[in-house]
Symmetry: C2
Subunit: 365 residues, 2 copies
């Protein structure tokens, strides 16, 4: 189902966290209205939206209300329940398409899909009990990571296992839920591509960022970092293949491990992505506006990068130093208006811009 | 009264038009909460704010409510009643200071202030009746403009008078209210400076823009346009003098006429200014963030300009073509989410960026 929004149309956003907030701001700048669905009336996206529907993500009445008030519906995180979203998609266009949501929600389905379209991932095995874990660890005979198939984020729901180490209790300690064992990739660094596909099939991608995680949470994204032009092109091409095969509309984040020149996909996120926040400071059109453009049926914007950039997350109490950072030149500060700075909670980010090292400049429009 | 806001503090904004809206977005990005005071609950700034207090700008109860909920109060237009704002300033810090509001509200007081601190303006006479108008027209013996002293904006409340032409009914046609006659300045072009002063006395100014008006409404702002570096520096220096002498805090817009190398000030606006909207696309820190930084007691941001830029207003039905403009590369579109596209109503703007003609680049931070 396609939809070209008219001036002042309303966009429904499932999820009222910082990504929903930044999407709502971008939508407003294009003259669109927004309604947020979130269980918390005081969610941080409320400040940026015309209205908040308070309800669980699988609350059928709340979803109906959202659909009734929206010309198109999108979501800010991949753990939205698939069933209700599929029902919603029968009454209002939902972008990105629900099949992408379904694939990204389950690490086994995700990797099977990626391998099926020829995209390399870490070697993996589906794990449903301790015996399967034993067999797979013997078979791989290397360091591995055990992850729950569903509902993992920011490093939650996963555990490393060293080669030949005891792991008797490990499967149960993750809750005894369906899991996946992945062979640990001895990567040099991690990168991500933020790409988008429009309703007309146009695909664009921002330059990839080199990402550093700490305790499972993204710490920084650096563009271009250590990424060679060849690796950047290869990563963008893989992202484009994924978008094509999903019949995708919207922004996607694709995370990779880089080993030498080799790329394997770690995971895909069918939404705007933390590692794309730097686009706000270094590009005319941010990932948030790009997503709104795509789902609104507008032409995608330029992904031209005008600066080298380093984005740093402000996690937990790091936010307390944020306002002092405003004194640094070339820093764009972005706080999420969240109340309590709990440990591990993403409270904001900053982007430092620098002249492009390669001397590239904006091209005449 | 000074005030350094803490993380998550609330900023009160008097006026819910597009300037209030853009200020609210900038405040949110720095993690602040906002309350808008506007007579219209559906004002376009409501989308960007945490709360709206519906009330007239001189509604004492509404203003008390605003003061009670805000750590600092600012305003988005210069026709806010001075008396209530002065009363408000006794209970909560108000920036820009109310004396700037008072001066900018009355064209006679404004010009007397400017001339008093050595800033040149067009020659002028206060006009309180038809006889005074006759005398002044004879004395000036040139084309002139008659303006109401108060409540003029977007070319409203003014009329041109040609030298030696009949003007018998003209004074009454403007309502018979106190007026000012200004000698018409034979300018080459108009420019404006968007400057800011922080609570610590620091002054910054963006590069001046060349402005074109049509039917009294700003049509475009071009940076650098025909402005020489010398004229730019002179205009910035005058803006700095005005800020100093007012003990100002916040962003100010200073409009000039340029004739050869000579500058005269046309008017000052104690607020963010339409001719500064280009800063959003061409600078890391926009005029809106700069204003929020100033009134929040934060360090002012860099005013470095990374691109040449042309800002165009989308007035009335021009907005209907806006979404198609998204197809142009290097265009940053900004719509205000207003409902009806009435003639003369500012509905949005766009900024086109181009590489700097002088080859200047961002400096290392």
């Amino acid at each position: 189902m396609h939809e070209k929004l008219t001036l002042g149309a309303t966009i429904g956003i499932v999820g009222g966290g910082q990504l929903g907030r930044m999407l709502a701001f971008a939508a407003a700048r294009l003259g669109f209205r927004t309604i947020i669905l979130d269980p918390d009336a005081a969610c941080c996206a409320a400040q940026a939206a015309n209205a908040v529907i308070v309800g669980a993500y699988d609350d059928v009445d709340a979803l109906k209300q959202l659909a009734a008030g929206s010309a198109v519906v999108t979501y800010e995180f991949e753990n939205v329940p698939v069933g209700p979203m599929r029902a919603l998609a029968g009454t209002v266009p939902v972008f990105p398409p629900v099949n992408a949501l379904e694939i990204a929600q389950d690490r086994v389905v995700e990797k099977a899909f990626l391998n099926g379209i020829g995209v390399p991932t870490a070697e993996w095995r589906a794990i449903d009990d301790t015996q399967e874990l034993d067999h797979a660890m013997q078979e791989f005979d290397t360091d591995c990571i055990l992850k729950t198939r569903r509902f993992g984020y920011d490093g939650k729901g996963q555990a490393s296992i060293r080669r030949k180490s005891p792991h008797g209790e490990l499967y149960e300690s993750l809750g005894g839920v369906p899991a996946i064992l992945e062979r640990k990739v001895p990567f040099d660094f991690e990168l991500s591509v933020i790409a988008a596909r429009g309703q007309d099939g146009t695909i664009t991608a921002y330059d990839p960022a080199e990402n550093v995680h700490s305790m499972g949470i993204l710490k920084s994204s650096t563009v271009p970092g250590r990424i060679t032009p060849e690796t950047a092109e290869a990563a963008k091409a893989i992202a484009a293949t994924i978008l094509e095969r999903l019949g995708y509309v919207g922004v996607i984040g694709v995370e990779f491990f880089v080993t030498g020149e080799a790329l394997v996909v770690n995971e895909i996120a069918p939404r705007v992505h933390n590692s794309g926040h730097w686009t706000e400071g270094a590009c005319l059109i941010s990932q948030f506006e790009q997503h709104i453009r795509a789902i609104a049926g507008l032409p995608l914007g330029t992904t031209e990068r005008h600066f080298d950039a380093v984005m740093e997350n402000l996690v937990g109490s790091e936010v307390n130093a944020a306002l002092a950072l405003a004194a640094e030149p070339n820093v764009l500060l972005h706080l999420y208006g969240k109340g309590e700075a709990r440990p591990g909670r993403k409270m904001g980010h900053l982007t430092r811009i620098h002249p492009r090292d390669d001397g590239n400049r904006v091209k005449e429009g």
